[in-house]
Symmetry: C2
Subunit: 412 residues, 2 copies
């Protein structure tokens, strides 16, 4: 079956799904969870094949770790599906409504997109997560996983479809798209059949989809995030936030990648901070001024542009607030940008002048996260300005429809 | 100056504009209005050149009418700018907000997109309207008008920039993009410099932009709208709504283009309806069953796919509610779809099963309009599912930003 045929089946499946009650969808999520739990052995066997192949072609240990499933990780997927069932259903929510002077009632109501395509990389747990989020939000999904996880994804989708098959909802609401590279292009060309594409993965994948797709795209994830220690910052607070934002989980998009320090506080802040960072295992790539305050690798221009996703940190001393803003404007990917300051003026200016999905004052950028926001589920963190910006929960996986109800009114 | 240079200037201008107060923006709108009023003679002279050239190349009377400016139309633009000043400012609106358990305050705040590109056809009044809407919503704008209106657009933009130049806001917030066809391609390739492109015009223009752009697009306007007269419809109400939706202003996107009549009511409804339509100057393109009830042109398949934008109407008799839904699903452009019915079940099913920006029960589709919705200004009617769907007012011309404020909180 080619992508067009799969998309047409997804479109068909999307119709009953769009009209399904919350109870029906929640029952389906539990059925999917039950079937996945039952298929644990098959999923782990399939995953072992993927892991073996990855090892045989010399895949890095980090990538193999993302690829590998364990009984715990399968349980994680199963529980993820069940917790989606516990979340409110965004479909049918009335966003706003009013009655026109002539008596026509207008309501803006949340409706599913229809068919969502997810293009993602190695982690096979995305398969179950994305399928569950799409189902709960009333969308049929086409899952285009990485070839490196082909066996795992096939086993997971097989289980999910078996679960769905035992309910009133169509199994074609969840489909895996397999085949060579060109298949991804077909998916990106399926305008009119697929309503939105969401790439999840590294910068390369996201950029390729954003540039190549004729289907509307929601861009997620790349985070070259900055933390600016303003002249008036509380040094202890700044260090605590920095350590948290850099080291608590360095591989995620809301981790800090560059530290900017106001020259007026550099001497107070940096000597101790550099020691503490080193003790925490952080490799500092600093500019000339930073090097005055401790032993650091010398930063190249490229360091400031890089999303390390590791225990590396680029550091620069800036002569003024304006220089900090200019630096961030040059290198920011528009994800999460932080200022630590005791100055109300600086805080306000930073919030106003920095253009990003999230701007933080005196708090760790690790809070920019669907879980921390209380969304319960997250399909990703949007770094684009259209439709959704920042952590995307279930309501962000919907569109709206205006419903106008009259008693024969016409326009004068 | 090439498109990239203009976009960079727009980006620079967008910064003070994003932070401008409502008072500053309203003063600028009045200054633009004053300058445009003062430039009336220059604008009309420039327009006369465009009209003469259009006539010399045999442009249709309808297009020349859209192109032609009069003192009244210039006043319309001037008043449009002043009425924008009277509208609330969406920028800074807190969409939602909460406080996390750890005390971190989260607010989702409306912010401008930044730089908006508008690609549009002959009507030069779009130049002032779009510039005003973008300015009020805090966005810098790149206006790419039609070459047929080049002189008119240049004169209008010249006046608007003169007006802006007398205020604290940067004149580069409003720029006209001129040059050969390739310039439009440059605009569509300006990802990262231009935040969103909005095409305004015919189906061909919109499709070209949607398919060719790497900048995110908001698709507006094509409306192949249907009216379904259900078996239980009140025939008098159905006819009144049909006449209004077809004839009140046939050239607009929310006018009805196809009438579907349930077979059970065809004999009651169609004979009289066809007479009344004929008397109203409507040319009916009917299927075989329609032809039983009056004299009609025979409809081809293509008639059902066409957005006439004229006093033409395609008509088909359908055997069931499901056939009506299937027909609409095949030919709808997802703009505005209407049912006339006395059946609560049919009304509910129609609203649930038809996927469009607006679905209407017993009311004219002419109500699907920013003015009728009370939005005060409208940049267009979105027929896409991302970001905005239906009439777009000022809030739809903004993005959002999460602002997190803490007192040193870190993630555990």
């Amino acid at each position: 079956m080619n992508v067009e045929q799969q998309a047409l089946r997804a479109r068909e499946a999307s119709r009953p799904l769009a009209g399904a009650t919350r109870s029906a969808k929640d029952a389906a999520l539990h059925a999917m969870a039950d079937a996945l739990a039952k298929a644990e052995a098959a999923v782990l066997d399939a995953n072992a094949l993927d892991v073996r192949r990855a090892e045989s072609v010399g895949t890095s240990a980090a990538l193999i770790d993302r690829l590998r499933l364990t009984a715990d990780r399968v349980s994680g997927m199963v529980n993820g599906l069940r917790s989606l069932a516990a979340l409110p259903d965004p479909v049918g929510d009335v966003v706003r409504g009013w009655t026109n002077a002539n008596g026509v009632q207008v309501r803006q109501v949340r409706v599913p997109f229809g068919v969502v395509g997810i293009i993602y990389e190695a982690r096979p747990n995305v398969t179950a997560d994305a399928a569950g989020i799409c189902l709960k939000s009333g969308n049929a999904v086409l899952l285009r996983g990485s070839s490196s996880a082909a066996e795992s994804n096939a086993a997971i989708v097989d289980a999910l479809r078996t679960g769905l098959g035992a309910t009133d909802l169509p199994a074609d609401a969840v489909q895996l798209v397999v085949g060579p590279r060109e298949v991804t292009n077909d998916l990106m060309a399926a305008r009119g059949l697929v309503d939105v594409l969401i790439p999840r993965g590294g910068a390369g994948l996201i950029d390729a989809v954003v540039r190549g797709s004729q289907v509307p795209v929601i861009e997620t994830g790349v985070g070259n995030c900055h933390l600016f220690v303003d002249a008036t910052a509380d040094p202890a607070m700044a260090l605590e936030i920095l350590l948290n934002a850099k080291t608590q989980r360095p591989s995620v998009c809301n981790a800090v990648e560059t530290l900017l320090v106001h020259a007026e506080i550099a001497e107070t802040f940096l000597p101790h901070a550099l020691q503490v960072l080193q003790a925490a295992g952080v490799t500092v790539h600093g500019d000339e001024q930073t090097a005055r305050y401790g032993e650091v690798l010398r930063a190249e221009e490229a360091d400031y542009a890089e999303e390390y996703l590791s225990l590396d940190l680029a550091v620069a001393v800036v002569d003024s607030f304006d220089r900090a803003v200019a630096h961030i404007r040059t290198y920011s990917t528009g994800h999460s940008e932080t200022i630590v300051t005791e100055s109300q003026t600086s805080a306000q200016r930073f919030v106003a002048e920095i253009d990003a999905a999230a701007v933080l004052v005196n708090a760790s950028s690790r809070f920019v996260d669907g879980g921390e926001f209380g969304f319960g589920a997250e399909i990703g963190i949007s770094t684009q300005k259209l439709h959704a910006r920042g952590p995307m929960g279930l309501p962000e996986m919907t569109s709206t429809k205006y419903v106008l109800t009259g008693a024969g009114q016409t326009r004068g």
